[in-house]
């Protein structure tokens, strides 16, 4: 009965508000939002993230997103953590100290709710179970705050969290306990990356060894075509581009920081995967000169779409960001760098086309939906905070790539 009541209330909420209807109608008619200069889209995304922090009402955590059915969602420790570097970078970009203060509030909140054993609470709201992936993402935020502010308290939180990650890591380098469905995931390469950040900040080799062990395990899951097994949330499902991008971004950032064979292999695998994604994107169009269709929401191990009808918008922003990172990293090879940039710009235009800059609805204006069309499977009728975050990151990286 409460579930039914909640559903009815959700439907009434949608029916009473013009904003969601406009988005649904837009997607029904396959109409994109008008494109503006990057700076306007960036500012709108950042303003949306600021609202997500303000409405959460917990001092620093960001609401997980805006749902057409449930309104603003509870704060989300995991994504609040990795939004900290976005706030910091935008603060540097604009010279506005207010964004640094937002990052500080988010980091302090994360430290306040950090579990005694060091792990970060899983899920939305304040839960009791620590989760490996979420812990890694918040470490990224604490390490960024430590670099920016020089305050040791953030490094202490990060070190405690990293110690917990080492405690629950299996001997083969994978994490199985305290993970989604208690199975190992290769997107944990994005947990190895924060461990390397802690290693760099503390000089402690054990974090580096743990990261390398995980990467060795991830690399062992790769196929010759660049596909990596176990990139999905659930073993039986094909992965969303969201978690595919997590996997290759983790490999890329680790490859940049790790010396030796593991680092080289991680970098090569990241480039191979990114290239397969680029081909998947660019070759999926009616005509060689036409604009490519957006990437499908999920892919299978042959890099074929398993869901042609929808696109995972945060995944698209993340993949554009992955290509832009490669563009920056390969800047000395102009042809390679501009190839990455070219495809990233096209994919980003498609993400920008899902972002309304002028909606009067606070949950929609500047936000980025989970899916396109908005009613598709990945976070149906929801604007998650990580979609806005990855769009903002990609737009700031575009500046670096060009």
């Amino acid at each position: 009965m409460p579930a039914l009541l909640s559903r009815i209330l959700g439907m009434l909420r949608i029916a009473a508000s013009a904003g969601p209807w406009r988005v649904v109608l837009r997607d029904l008619l396959h109409r994109g939002e008008p494109l503006h200069e990057d700076e306007a889209h960036l500012r709108a995304a950042m303003d949306w993230l600021a609202r997500a922090q303000d409405v959460a009402g917990c001092g620093g955590g960001l609401s997980a997103g805006y749902s057409f059915r449930r309104g603003w969602l509870p704060p989300y420790p995991e994504t609040t953590g990795y939004i900290i570097p976005t706030f910091l970078r935008y603060g540097e970009h604009t010279g506005d100290d207010g964004w640094i203060q937002r990052a500080v509030r988010a980091g302090d909140w994360e430290s306040e709710i950090q579990l005694a054993a060091g792990g970060v609470r899983g899920g939305q709201g304040i839960n009791t179970e620590p989760v490996v992936f979420n812990t890694g993402q918040v470490i990224l935020g604490w390490c960024a705050l430590h670099r920016t502010t020089g305050h040791d308290k953030y490094l202490e939180s990060a070190t405690r969290a990293a110690d917990w990650l080492l405690q629950v890591q299996d001997r083969d380098g994978a994490w199985r306990q305290n993970t989604y469905e208690d199975t190992p995931h290769t997107y944990h390469s994005r947990v190895a990356w924060p461990l390397l950040e802690v290693a760099a900040a503390t000089g402690e080799a054990r974090y580096r060894s743990a990261a390398a062990a995980n990467l060795d395990w991830v690399i062992a899951q790769a196929r010759p075509n660049g596909w990596v097994e176990s990139m999905s949330f659930r073993c039986a499902d094909d992965p969303y581009t969201h978690t595919i991008a997590y996997t290759y971004r983790g490999l890329l950032e680790c490859g940049l920081q790790l010396q030796g064979d593991t680092g080289v292999s991680a970098m090569q695998l990241a480039q191979l995967g990114a290239d397969r994604l680029l081909r998947r994107y660019e070759l999926n169009k009616p005509d060689p000169h036409a604009e490519p269709w957006p990437l499908p929401a999920t892919l299978n191990s042959r890099w074929q779409p398993s869901d042609e009808g929808s696109s995972c918008v945060p995944g698209n922003a993340q993949i554009a960001l992955l290509w832009l990172r490669l563009a920056v990293i390969t800047a000395q090879d102009q042809a390679a760098s501009l190839r990455w940039t070219n495809s990233a710009l096209k994919l980003l235009d498609q993400v920008k086309a899902t972002q309304s800059l002028h909606s009067r609805h606070d949950g929609i204006r500047g936000g980025v939906p989970g899916s396109s069309p908005v009613w598709s499977w990945y976070l149906r009728l929801t604007y998650p905070n990580w979609a806005a975050k990855f769009l903002a990151d990609a737009l700031m990286e575009t500046e670096a790539a060009l």
Partner: protein, 259 residues
């Protein structure tokens, strides 16, 4: 030598130029295999491929480009007394060339028509992606002019990519095989931009050079003087349609060049 041309447009300046260049080398075109549509068909096809917004964007860009820079095609046509705005049907009638109208170049009827005429060389003057049966219909193959150096720059918008990357623009004449610009290479003709060139005028210059380069290579084939270099693999880097921001960057680099 029996030579055929493909075409998919009602008005096809490139095919007109090719016919003229081949005739000047005593290499008459035997037939034009045309999958052209009427005006409405052209508009519908463009809308289908690019969408309303994409079509309007392309038309705006074309209008903006056409307003600036030299117009080498217009000048060339005037010198040769060619009317590049004439429909291909009239060009064929004037030159006594058979025009084979087909529904699509992908059909077996199109491939059969090429095969049964004993065609040695078919030249790509439009038609998009070709099916294997058409590629195998002419005894020597299907010839293409690619607007950049191969095998380095395969894909589309490669003239603009050449400018963007600061490499020598030019035309590669090559055989079309099953891959994207992967076939054996007959030769490369460099293209030197004029000081006042825009991307639009450079593209026109490239169209002119394509016609002469292809005609030269067909002449070499006819005289048994052609040489071939190996093509490349389909896994080699491919260049895709340029985002407008990178097109603008290419235009700026072309305008800023000093050599």
């Amino acid at each position: 030598m029996i030579i055929g041309l493909t075409s998919a447009a009602r008005v096809n300046p490139y095919a007109t130029l090719l016919i003229d260049e081949l005739q000047r080398r005593q290499l008459p075109v035997g037939f034009v295999l045309s999958a052209e549509r009427g005006h409405a068909g052209d508009v519908w096809e463009r809308l289908k491929r690019r969408g309303v917004a994409g079509t309007l964007r392309a038309l705006r860009r074309r209008a903006a480009g056409a307003a600036k820079g030299p117009q080498p095609l217009v000048r060339w046509a005037a010198q040769r007394e060619l009317d590049l705005s004439l429909p291909l049907v009239q060009i064929c009638e004037r030159a006594g060339i058979e025009r084979l109208l087909v529904k699509s170049l992908s059909t077996s009827a199109a491939a059969d028509a090429v095969f049964h005429r004993g065609t040695e060389v078919l030249i790509n003057a439009g038609g998009g992606l070709f099916r294997k049966r058409l590629l195998e219909a002419p005894s020597r193959g299907l010839l293409n002019a690619h607007m950049a150096r191969l095998p380095e720059l395969r894909g589309v918008d490669v003239l603009e990519w050449s400018v963007l990357l600061g490499v020598q623009p030019g035309i590669t004449v090559h055989w079309i095989d099953g891959g994207v610009d992967t076939g054996a290479i007959l030769g490369f003709e460099p293209l030197s931009p004029a000081p006042d060139d825009t991307l639009e005028s450079l593209r026109e210059r490239a169209v002119l050079l394509s016609a002469t380069a292809v005609a030269d290579q067909v002449a070499r084939l006819a005289h048994g003087e052609a040489t071939e270099l190996p093509g490349t693999s389909d896994m080699a880097p491919q260049y895709f349609a340029l985002h407008p921001r990178l097109s603008d960057l290419a235009a700026a680099r072309l305008a800023a060049r000093t050599d």
